[in-house]
């Protein structure tokens, strides 16, 4: 078996997670992408949602909530960059749903600001990731 992937999940403020993985599954703007060791170098934009990191034991997996950002792969090093990346384990579905409702309410109230839209994106991503982590 090939060497495992070295994965780094980085948010703007900190290194969120790093470790080895058997594979990584991410949702890019062109569709889902699965990365196994030996993958050719790629730089892809992510859509808000959850990125799955399959641990070397092949069973347990980590889910990262991302709000856009991108994934870069080269020489078995995978970096996932997202401004507000967070581990899904730290998120709960209930919290994410509340965030989403908050953002929706603001948007419905006629607040069309960029900030609210970003908030909505972020909440959507966290909810998807949190559901995936169940």
């Amino acid at each position: 078996m090939a060497d495992p992937l070295q994965v780094e999940v980085v948010s703007a403020e900190a290194l969120v997670w790093s470790g080895e993985a058997e594979s990584v599954i991410a949702k890019t703007v062109d569709g889902d992408i699965g990365i196994l060791p030996g993958h050719s170098p790629v730089l892809a934009l992510l859509v808000p949602g959850g990125v799955e990191i399959v641990c070397p034991d092949g069973r347990s997996r980590e889910i990262v909530a991302v709000d856009g950002g991108f994934i870069s792969v080269s020489q078995d090093r995978v970096s996932i960059l997202s401004e507000y990346a967070r581990m899904a384990q730290e998120l709960s579905v209930a919290d994410a749903e509340r965030e989403l409702a908050d953002a929706r309410a603001k948007l419905d109230a006629g607040d069309e600001s960029e900030e609210t839209k970003q908030h909505l994106h972020r909440a959507t991503a966290q909810l998807r990731a949190a559901q995936k982590a169940r």
Partner: protein
């Protein structure tokens, strides 16, 4: 005539109260510096990966992006000043403002209008006092900047940059911030943020660290479109974090000097108070002795 004993004691008491306050501020600043340095370090991996990605796109595609193109005839420039929200930090804010004034003059000499953007309450006060127009102003995060703040500033600047010059847009963006060199040295610096020159962050790339031939999804241009605003935000965040660490270091040093001065003052006032007290006692004794002698003389003469 030396001041009265009571007055001297009052002054000594007030100076020691001030000393307690400056000492507390010194300690607070010292403990926050560690936090500021930690968050500066925590933000490094992001900046590093982002720089790598941007250089990868820039190297492997002939991109002609508005954010990287030099305008032919720049007539207006934006200037972002990063200062503190509060004073008590020595010359920290004023040296940034002075640097800003110099930059403004230099830009004027080149025939460019200057559009000021301000971060930190001190800069806002400086401009408000001189009744100058300000294009944007943020405050409330100078000693612990968040990424959200950096993003907000970046969005405002990029929007202004993308506006055509005729409609009030700017052709270039400069940032004045204070670089944290060490606990003892912080230097105000000017960098040109836009049009972008992609530079490696703190460390130059290692030799032999050749960037692989990336495939871009969906394509290089779209990727660059997404990456550049992130890169700009990350640069601003870097400046804000450096400025925060510098501010705290400057405050710690200023407060240390203030505490030392207060100590000296207390010592001097204590001496003066003791002297005044001793003078009072001596006078009282001589009065009592004089009085007793006078009584004795009058008793003898009877």
């Amino acid at each position: 005539m030396p001041a009265s004993l009571r007055e001297l004691r009052e002054r000594r008491a007030s100076v020691s109260n001030i000393k307690k306050i400056t000492r507390a501020m010194e300690l607070i600043a010292a403990s926050r510096i560690i936090k500021a340095q930690r968050s500066a370090r925590a933000a490094e991996p992001y900046a590093r990966e982002l720089t790598r990605a941007v250089s990868a796109v820039a190297t492997f595609s002939n991109v002609d992006h508005p954010l990287t193109t030099e305008p032919e005839n720049p007539t207006r420039a934006a200037m972002l000043l990063i200062t503190a929200d509060r004073g008590q930090a020595g010359a920290y804010s004023s040296s940034v403002l002075r640097q800003g004034e110099q930059l403004t003059q230099a830009l004027h000499e080149d025939g460019k209008d200057v559009v000021p953007f301000l971060a930190g309450r001190k800069a806002a006060q400086f401009y408000a006092f001189r009744r100058r127009e300000v294009a944007g102003s943020w405050s409330g995060f100078s000693d612990a900047p968040t990424y959200a703040a950096a993003r907000e500033i970046a969005d405002a600047l990029i929007e202004r940059f993308n506006t055509p010059t005729e409609e009030g847009g700017v052709d270039e963006i400069h940032v004045v911030y204070t670089r944290f060199v060490s606990m003892l040295t912080q230097r105000p610096e000017v960098i040109r943020l836009l049009p972008l020159e992609v530079v490696e962050g703190e460390e130059p790339p290692e030799k032999g660290d050749i960037l692989p031939l990336y495939e871009f999804e969906p394509d290089a241009d779209t990727v660059l479109d997404e990456l550049l605003p992130l890169y700009v935000a990350s640069r601003i965040q870097f400046c804000l974090l450096q400025a925060a660490a510098s501010e705290l270091a400057a405050r710690q040093r200023a407060m240390k000097a203030a505490t030392d001065n207060a100590e000296q003052l207390i010592e001097r006032l204590t001496r003066e108070a003791n002297q005044a007290r001793q003078a009072g006692i001596t006078q009282e004794i001589s009065e009592i002795v004089g009085g007793a002698n006078a009584l004795a003389d009058s008793a003898e003469s009877e």
